[in-house]
């Protein structure tokens, strides 16, 4: 299987704090890697580096074989769902799809397909700022998939949203992976570990990989131990 993401000795320092400390990881095509960690563990920092949003202190990162420090061309293979509401608040749902499709140089035919698949027909005229969490997250995923990305980077893809939206999003994620897409999903809710192929547990700037079942067992054990601590309220 082709390696889509290759990270070697990645270090990110913000001020005096070392957020990521010499991370090395590989993600192959068709794989869904869950990045699990507590609040402040560096999940978002890692995802923003992989998406080419933030610079990093040292190390090497390749996406689809492209060194992301040399060029931004890898972004044509990328779809991003952010933890924060990052769609354009001044536009409605349909305008967001149109605008982001234009920014990504994506074909307009994808828009109709994604509206249908993510069942966005009824919210197209809603201003993004007033959308409920579930439809908003479906829209955010649709926007991320507009350019048929090879790599989907999703930060808290499913948070506190309605079950209907959750089901649609998980269904779309399965379809995406089945089609050869790769996903890196930052999650703070251990419940979603069963939807990923591998869990990268991020703690104190270091990452350790587990199969989902083992990661879940370790998490439950930690919760039950006297020194156990929750992450982000969910984890």
């Amino acid at each position: 299987m082709e390696t889509i993401v290759a990270v070697k000795d990645l270090t990110q320092k913000i001020g005096r704090k070392t957020v990521l400390d010499g991370l090395t990881l590989e993600v192959r095509a068709g794989e869904c890697l869950g990045i699990f960690g507590m609040k402040g563990s560096g999940k978002t920092a890692l995802l923003h580096i992989l998406a080419g949003i933030d610079r990093f202190t040292s190390g090497k990162v390749e996406v689809a074989g492209i060194d992301i420090r040399r060029t931004e061309k890898f972004k044509i293979y990328l779809g991003l769902v952010t933890q924060e509401r990052s769609l354009f608040q001044d536009l409605n749902a349909a305008e967001n799809l149109d605008f982001i499709a234009a920014l990504k140089n994506a074909g307009r035919d994808n828009i109709d397909r994604l509206i249908e698949r993510l069942e966005l027909g009824e919210v197209l005229n809603q201003p993004v700022g007033h959308m409920e969490a579930g439809p908003y997250q479906r829209l955010a995923l649709a926007c991320a998939l507009l350019n048929n990305p090879r790599l989907l980077i999703a930060d808290e893809l499913i948070g506190a949203i309605d079950l209907y939206s959750r089901r649609i999003i998980l269904r779309e994620l399965e379809t995406f992976l089945a089609g050869g897409g790769t996903c890196i999903w930052a999650l703070s809710n251990a419940e979603f570990m069963r939807h990923v192929h591998r869990v990268g547990w991020l703690e104190k700037g270091k990452i350790t990989f587990y199969p989902p079942a083992e990661a879940l067992t370790r998490w439950n054990a930690r919760l039950q131990s006297p020194a156990g601590q929750g992450g982000d309220g969910d984890a």
Binding site: A51, L80, F88
Partner: protein, 379 residues
Amino acid sequence: MLRQCLAIMRREVFYLWRDRGLRHILLFGSLLGLMLFYAVYSAQVLKDIPTAVFDLDNSAASRELVDKIGKAEYLKLVASTASYDDLRELIKQGKAVVGVVIPENYGRNLALGRQARVLAVIDGSNMIYATNASAALLTVTRTLSAQAGVSALVARGVQLQQAKDAYQAIDISEEAWFNPALNYAYFLVLALALNIWQQCCTLAACLNVIGERGMKSWLQIRACGISKFRFFASKSIAQIFIFMAVVLPLYILGFGALKLPLNCSWAALLLFTLAFAIAVHSIGTLASSFARNAVDAARFGMIIALPSFVLSGYTWPLEAMPVYLQKVAWILPQTWFFQGINYFAFKNAGWNLMAHYILAMLAIAAVCYGAAAVFIARS
């Protein structure tokens, strides 16, 4: 690429249009300013300047002087006081701007052909009033002085015509070109309205970069891989287009409805204004590129936009400013614009001069955009 650029431009127009506050300021701010300033300067020239007289002589000659002051075109006799203190009180209270004190023996001195002194007091606290009052008073006193001189020569046996000729040896005829009536409205109204426009434009441009980077949607833009240059260039084109769209009704109202003088062609005026819009936008973009947040950017905008009109030399000649300040003033595009608008709208000073002004503004724009590009690339 074109589709990307057009989408960014369209979104920028929508963004500005949907921000009701910004839309109203851009659309109506300068138009309201134009109407307001036109109403303020509707008198066009200052007439009926309130004048008080303290006549210590009370002779026929002094009464004639008082009568002439009362009939002067721009002066209005409002009081005749009984003491110098009363006159001072009237001026202090703003009931008179000009005070004329006619001393004792004024009539006798005139009759004897001696020099007669008259004290003219002007309230200097309001410069506009004082300058006009001084000019109006000078017109009266010059005529009277000439008449007295002619009378004195006649009393010494000179023929009347010879005496008149002696006082008219140099016939100076005054002509005010380009604004014959020295109309304040022509001079100030459009410039003041354009000042509001340029301030609004500067403030809007100050949000060009930081306004985008400060929003969460910046993450989407960064993740899309579109180059910052293409993104901000497209945004900037849309903003400059909006600036021009906003100034157009201002010009139509000013030159069309209010009949302010426009002696150059519309095309030349719009080209000149476009160069200024680009330059002002570049300054705002530069401020926006290194500002830490939108509030910071707005502060930079205010610091640039507010004093720039005063520095432009429109209301006080550049040549009268200290040399170092003149050098600073010429760095600002506002100076080139407000100096130039006078040259071209009033005087149609010609393409050569206009090209010089346009090139200067575009050079400022090139420097500011270049510096902004460096800041944006490093951020």
